[in-house]
């Protein structure tokens, strides 16, 4: 592999994660990704690890493999997430544990292991994923929103802890985008959510790419601990 910058994206089997992988492969990054499923057609330059992001031994093995193969990691995009759109009174504890494991523990594990690799070069960029469900305090998304609020706190604290290693940590909070994550959400509920945004439309993949691109720009080395919400939350 040439001296391309190395990026790891979680949750690349579909949706935003897959779009991110396609975009950054086109930008010349060496892209590694992971998900429980396997994405099709990402082609040359893409390296996939099938795993559950909350499985610590599997995650550590993946980072060891990245280390052996590339000797470095420049960018981590923590995109993998699960959601459950239910009233709190109808949410089983198993669902709560599953969401927290993937969205919070998974994000933490990836940040921790990525930072260990990044600190060797005293440079790194971590981009986490939040959601407008946090500032909107959406009813019916108690645990999903709580998990993403935790990701925001994690982002802010890690930004401070990792600054001295030359690593920035930021988050993007997408507005609703037509992905599988929203498959179970009713049309009227989505329209109601969109009416709360300053700009009333669905988000597009390009909106997310734009924010991630901004965090990765060399000129953004003084930007850390921030959450950018799309659509004007």
């Amino acid at each position: 592999m040439p001296d391309a910058r190395v990026m790891l994206i979680s949750g690349t089997s579909r949706g935003i994660g897959r779009e991110l992988a396609v975009h950054y492969l086109q930008q010349g990054y060496a892209v590694a990704g992971c998900s429980r499923g396997t994405p099709d057609g990402l082609g040359e330059g893409y390296l996939h690890f099938p795993l559950d992001v909350g499985d610590e031994p599997a995650v550590k093995a993946m980072f060891a493999a990245l280390r052996d193969r590339f000797g470095r990691l420049d960018v981590l995009v923590n995109n993998a997430a699960v959601a459950s759109m239910n009233h709190a009174l109808l949410t089983p504890l198993e669902t709560v544990e599953r969401i927290l494991r993937t969205n919070v523990a998974g994000t933490f594990l990836f940040c921790r292991e990525a930072a260990k690799l990044m600190q060797r070069a005293r440079w790194g960029r971590i981009v986490n994923f939040s959601t407008v469900a946090v500032p909107f305090k959406l009813e019916g998304e108690a645990i999903y929103a709580a998990s993403k609020a935790a990701v925001e706190s994690l982002t802010a604290v890690l930004a401070r802890e990792l600054a001295e290693f030359g690593i920035t940590v930021n988050a993007v909070g997408p507005a609703p985008i037509r992905t599988d994550l929203l498959a179970g959400v009713g049309g009227e509920k989505l329209q109601k959510l969109i009416r709360r945004q300053a700009i009333r439309r669905f988000g597009e993949f390009r909106d997310v790419l734009n924010v991630v691109d901004f965090f990765l720009r060399p000129e953004s080395d003084f930007v850390t601990g921030q959450v950018i919400y799309l659509g004007g939350a």
């Binding site: 550590k60 093995a61 060891a64 280390r67 260990k116 600190q119 060797r120 001295e164």
Partner: protein, 107 residues
């Protein structure tokens, strides 16, 4: 993961000493850390503060991966739960790492 079958404490000590050399070079304004096996690294009268310990532990983990092909997490619940911290001295850390590697080899 490439786990060594036989745990070589001398190589573990070598990894730790290399990290100490590296950190001493990075921190010329601090009193240098000693490579004496019984010198206190962390805790009361230790040469590392809490942030220094972070750099040290990450450096040793990376060094173990580079030198021994070992993928270990030193800051584990097991380490924290011990009455006597494995990070107290080089000797105690060598023993702790050897134990972890032995467990990995037997797993």
């Amino acid at each position: 993961m490439n786990t060594p079958m036989a745990v070589d404490k001398a190589r573990i000590r070598g990894v730790i000493e290399a990290v100490i050399d590296e950190l001493n070079a990075q921190w010329p304004d601090r009193p240098p850390m000693e490579k004496n096996g019984s010198a206190v690294l962390f805790g009361r009268n230790g040469s590392l503060d809490s942030l220094g310990l972070v750099h040290f532990v990450v450096g040793v983990e990376q060094g173990l991966a580079d030198t021994l092909g070992a993928n270990v997490t030193l800051a584990s619940d097991k380490a924290m739960a011990r009455r006597h911290s494995p990070f107290r001295t080089i000797d105690s850390l060598v023993e702790f790492i050897a134990e972890l590697l032995q467990e990995q080899a037997g797993a």
